[in-house]
């Protein structure tokens, strides 16, 4: 029952989030967007004839009052029609579908790698005052503070340019290493910091002492008992870091010449490709809703304390 309630409530809120995202985007694009007809025709680089501009205004209903345009816009979106990209002249849904796989692969690989690094590093260094811990903490601090594009350029310069270990572009697995690393390292650093703090606290708890007195080995204590309890804040954090992954994808996809949603978004924004911007915004908003739903369900599953609430 409890899970069903969480799901229903979240889905309802999700519809609200999508409506808000669509409306804000509409307002933002109309306040700052300039002449939509010119944007449709390719922006300031275009030299359209007066006839073509008139054609576009009529075709897109740009000669209608804004409230009418808004109603049509929301109505169209409500039926699931994302429209046609101004710049690419193809259906937005199709263009997104074509690029989404690459971003999902990148984000999943980066998320998984970050989780792995964070768990290993935090478990090994928690509850110990060693020089290794100090070094790792320092590295984490640097990685969390460093902008994604700086880290990406550094890795590119070091691994591709200096050492010639990795290709700068391509479709093979090797071409995935740099973008995944660029996305994963800052994420891993943040997650390791949180996880270690949590583990530090848990390792002081009486039940850990009890486990040790029962004769359990260090590894069993750390990975078997402490880690499970430390995972709750990590899962919540992961929900928040999802936004970082998407924002980072825009930069890494451009830097490492990968196809994907981030690159599509960057191009669409530069060209005022409103339908594409709206489509990607809605997709991102929807993924947020879903990720947070999953996080809530996971938290509830890991931490049974709220079961009777």
């Amino acid at each position: 029952m409890r899970f069903v309630r969480i799901i229903l409530w979240r889905l309802l809120a999700g519809v609200g989030v999508l409506w808000a995202a669509a409306s804000i985007t509409f307002v933002a694009m109309n306040v700052t967007g300039g002449d939509t007809a010119i944007a449709i025709l390719g922006g300031p680089e275009a030299l359209p004839t007066a006839e073509i501009v008139a054609q576009v205004r009529a075709e897109y209903g740009l000669d209608q009052p804004l409230p009418v345009q808004y109603a049509r816009y929301i109505g169209r979106l409500a039926t699931g029609d994302l429209g046609e990209s101004y710049r690419l002249r193809v259906p937005v849904a199709g263009a997104i579908a074509e690029q989404a796989g690459a971003t999902v692969r990148l984000a999943l690989a980066a998320g998984a790698l970050a989780l792995l690094i964070a768990v290993v590093v935090a478990s090994l260094t928690a509850g110990r005052e060693t020089p290794a811990r100090a070094a790792v903490s320092g590295a984490e601090l640097v990685l969390t503070a460093m902008p994604t594009f700086v880290l990406g350029l550094l890795l590119l310069f070091l691994l591709s340019f200096q050492l010639r270990l990795l290709p700068v572009a391509g479709e093979g697995g090797a071409a995935l290493v740099l973008p995944v690393g660029t996305l994963a390292l800052p994420l891993a650093a943040t997650m390791a910091q949180v996880l270690r703090q949590e583990l530090d606290a848990i390792l002081e708890q009486p039940f850990i002492l009890a486990a040790r007195t029962r004769g359990l080995g260090e590894a069993a204590v750390r990975y078997g008992h402490a880690l499970r309890h430390a995972l709750v804040p990590l899962v919540t954090l992961f929900g928040h870091m999802f936004g970082f992954l998407l924002g980072g994808a825009i930069i890494t996809e451009t830097l490492f010449a990968r196809q994907g949603i981030g690159r599509l978004m960057a191009d669409a924004t530069a060209a005022t490709d409103i339908p594409m911007v709206v489509g990607i915004t809605l997709l991102v908003a929807a993924s947020y809703v879903i990720v947070n739903l999953v996080v809530d369900l996971l938290t509830a599953a890991i931490d049974p304390r709220g079961a009777t609430a």
Binding site: T32, T49, E51, A54, V168
Partner: protein, 566 residues
């Protein structure tokens, strides 16, 4: 995917990192451009013709800076199309190295005495890659598609706006009727944006032109993954390259594989490591390293059309409604310093309103716009800006000599405006930069709400580019969207540019365009600062590169690889 999926990636590392083999002979890098404004630039004719037959075979791995998102050349105004369009499409005409139209898919043509009827006699042995015959009906289908407002082209319709009707006179004779004499018509038809698309595709599936264009070009699209890779395959029965380049038969390369890498350092790395053979967009920041690398070749060509303008004034708004202020600012710009700091010696300063490689460019016309801060100061004094504020900015009747220049936040040319800002301050003019989104930029333009705009340029292959950028008819007015952002509406200049557009013999056109360039030097609606250069770089194993006469961008029909298949 789990973390285990990363293991094969780590293992694959061992397989990477192999660099290409060192080659001997071949092209040498172009010398660093001489840093001197106002010199006419000519390129050797060997740049435009095939010198010796090449070796067929192999795949050229190209890295480009951007992906247009669509391969439909007729719809877009994108500069990428200049070289990309030439791979899959052919045009009716091709320019010779002096900018004169010569035969391509049209074997010959006549122009009626009133300049309104063009009759093209076409080649009879050309086919589209879907088997359709190239004939007069195909030409009509293409021009009508571009002309139709419903096609919503960004630029090509405006370029052939005088084209009224087309008529199939005979299977291979096409007649274009214009509403007014329009001499640049042939030049325009040679531009890459006017490549011929299969009439069947236009008729049955115009939406697929974006991803699978069907042309008569030397290559066909084999695979296109947007923002990732574009693979072109040789068309084996191709034998209609333009006469000018003196190439017979199909292209030499079996394949061209184009990856899109926006980051300059990454493109350079891909080239230097041998991961890629050729880049259509060599980063100026790495040009010196490319020149120093014995395995690499750097080529630099000035684009045709209008050069890079540092600033375009709105001549209707103070303080730029005073021509003396505009003249003063033009003389305050240290273009050579700008070329050095911005392009590390790879950029070429200019005072010209046409680029130096464009037909009828007159180097003498704008010689007086060169760097002369003393003359600039005298002009500002004469304009009454004789007072000085505490911070050294000139004043007149208590008003500061200041202005805001709009720049787009996305512009890679922002550095130019920053350079101008420093130069202007030195003669007591305060220029403020206002970076805004591209779309807002268009809004300011439509509303005539700006004092000046930052860096801009207009690529074309004809001196008629002056009409597009400076003629009074091209001002945004009453719903019309034009490219004359300076809002200059000078009757004398208008008359000269309109007369040149109506046409005449070479001597007449040379005189008209020279007078127009001199008039522009007096009026200074904008400050040209640098030539727009195409920097391409490639590995020494690449041979036979020819530059396209319309755009000075690479033409891949004649390119071949040493040791193909290696």
């Amino acid at each position: 995917m789990s973390w285990r999926a990363l293991l094969p990636i780590a293992l694959a590392l061992a397989a990477c990192g192999g660099a290409g083999e060192g080659g001997r002979g071949g092209d040498a890098s172009d010398p660093l451009p001489r840093v001197a404004a106002g010199q006419p630039v000519t390129y050797p004719s060997r740049d435009y013709v095939e010198r010796a037959p090449g070796r067929p075979g192999g795949t050229l791995r190209v890295v480009a800076a951007r992906d247009n998102g669509t391969l439909d050349a007729q719809l877009l105004a994108d500069t990428n199309t200049k070289w990309l369009g030439r791979t899959t499409f052919d045009n009716l005409v091709y320019l010779d190295e002096r900018g004169r139209p010569t035969p391509w898919l049209a074997r010959s043509w006549t122009v009626s005495p009133d300049g309104r009827t063009y009759t093209f006699t076409l080649r009879e042995d050309v086919t589209f890659s879907d088997g359709e015959r190239f004939d007069a009906a195909a030409v009509k289908a293409n021009l009508d598609r571009i002309r139709d407002p419903a096609t919503r082209t960004a630029m090509t319709t405006a370029y052939i706006a005088p084209y009224a009707t087309g008529r199939v006179v005979a299977p291979f004779v096409f007649e274009a009727r214009l509403s007014e004499p329009y001499a640049p018509f042939l030049d325009v038809l040679a531009q890459s944006w006017f490549g011929m698309v299969s009439p069947r595709q236009i008729r049955e599936a115009p939406g697929t032109i974006a991803t699978r264009p069907i042309g008569t070009g030397p290559f066909t699209v084999e695979r296109y993954v947007r923002n990732q890779v574009l693979t072109l395959a040789k068309r084996r029965d191709y034998h209609w390259a333009p006469d000018v380049i003196r190439h017979s038969g199909p292209a030499y390369l079996d394949r061209i594989e184009i990856a899109t890498v926006p980051e300059g350092l990454a493109r350079y790395t891909a080239l230097a490591s041998g991961e890629r053979d050729f880049t259509t967009d060599a980063p100026a920041a790495n040009a010196a390293a490319i020149r120093a690398d014995p395995g690499l070749v750097l080529r630099s060509r000035i684009n045709l059309g209008n050069p890079l303008r540092g600033i375009s004034f709105n001549v209707e708004k103070p303080p730029f409604d005073d021509v003396r202020v505009r003249q003063a600012l033009a003389r305050a710009v240290d273009r050579e310093g700008l070329a050095r700091s911005a392009g590390l010696g790879e950029y070429i300063p200019t005072t010209g309103f046409l680029s130096a490689s464009t037909r009828y460019y007159d180097a003498a016309a704008t010689r007086d716009l060169g760097y002369d801060p003393a003359a600039a100061a005298r002009l500002l004094d004469a304009a009454g800006w004789t007072g000085r504020a505490a911070d050294g900015i000139r004043t007149r009747n208590g008003r500061r000599l200041e202005a805001t220049v709009l720049t787009t936040d996305a512009s890679p040319l922002g550095f130019v405006v920053i350079g101008l800002q420093a130069d202007f301050r030195r003669i007591g003019v305060d220029l403020r930069l206002e970076p805004i989104p591209l779309a807002q930029f268009a809004q300011h333009r439509t509303a005539n709400d700006y004092q000046a705009t930052g860096a801009g340029y207009w690529h074309t292959n004809t001196p008629d580019g002056l009409y597009i950028v400076y003629h009074g008819q091209q001002i945004n007015r009453g719903g019309y969207t034009g490219q004359n952002i300076t809002r200059l509406d000078d009757p004398r200049l208008n008359a000269l540019l309109a007369a040149a557009r109506r046409g005449g013999d070479e001597a007449t056109l040379a005189r008209l365009y020279a007078q127009a360039q001199r008039r522009l030097a007096e009026l200074v609606p904008a400050i040209p600062v640098l030539e727009n250069s195409t920097l391409v770089a490639y590995r020494r194993e690449v041979h036979g590169l020819v530059f396209d006469t319309s755009h000075n961008t690479p033409l891949f029909t004649t390119v071949w690889l040493e040791g193909p298949g290696a």
